[in-house]
Symmetry: C2
Subunit: 135 residues, 2 copies
DNA sequence: AATAGTTACTTGCAAAAAGCAAGTGACTAT
DNA sequence: ATAGTCACTTGCTTTTTGCAAGTAACTATT
């Protein structure tokens, strides 16, 4: 069979870019995975260890969807033992301003929120992040 | 028990501002209503007329939640017949940068998206928006 | 060489939310 | 009176979420 699949049967709701974004990332978990990727997390277990506690089946589903959307790429990042990890594509990294805007709004308008670092997620992952356990 | 209720029984998933944002606006419809409000729409019927076609029960639910979150305010905007409309609060208007970032990302990475106007939603709703029907 | 442990998932199922259609009440225009 | 509009509400089916348990591959331990 020449063409296995046309592209995506998921019909877009409207030509509005906001609507298009929400079709891809409009739920309570997807952007948290992207946030973790900005923080330098790459492995399945690291995403699971985030304080929000994403259910494992949803994590697998979101990673698959993010991959299908071209926002993340799965690739080996270590051998012996061979391990595969997830990284942001260019398309995914371009979500940085979205996360930054959310962080700014949240810090201003949601009491009790705080970032671990001062750095906005648009910055590259800090090298000296200690692994005191998680997060 | 000193206080009758702290504030909201909806438990926050983590102190992360991204997580806090997604608890409020992390779904496929809420930000579309906010977008419409930025476009100057105020009435229930105007939100319904948007091309995405939000189900009426979800629209009512989202408006109630946005009100409870302090993002929109319901208030009379006309009398005889008395009509109530929805407007963005300061907190709601501060979502402008989030929408702008989403628009920028969508226009860059989602093929086939287009904005009706050139104006980004961060600008205040234009006064001279003609009511040629919708949008 | 079994045994146990870690990692990265998959599967099953109950509960919640989404989505659709129809209905309701207040007011208005004919 | 009758019909129409507006802003919702209600009922019901489908889809998604969330939780727990299970599985496969590989590694470290005894």
């Amino acid at each position: 069979m020449p063409g296995p699949r046309p592209k995506k049967p998921s019909l877009r709701r409207s030509p509005c870019p906001v609507s298009g974004c929400l079709d891809l990332i409009g739920d309570r978990w997807t952007l948290l995975v992207v946030r973790d990727l900005f923080w330098g997390k790459r492995r399945y277990g690291e995403f699971q260890a985030s304080p929000e506690g994403i259910p494992t089946n949803l994590l697998a589903d979101r990673l698959e969807r993010l991959g299908a959307a071209g926002i993340v790429a799965r690739r080996p990042y270590q051998r012996n033992p061979p391990r595969y990890g997830y990284t942001l594509t260019r398309k995914g990294r371009d979500l940085g301003p979205v996360l930054s805007a959310l962080v700014a709004w949240g810090k201003r308008h949601i009491p009790g929120t705080r970032t671990l670092d001062e750095a906005a997620p648009v910055s590259r992952p800090s090298r000296k992040s200690r692994r005191t356990g998680r997060a």
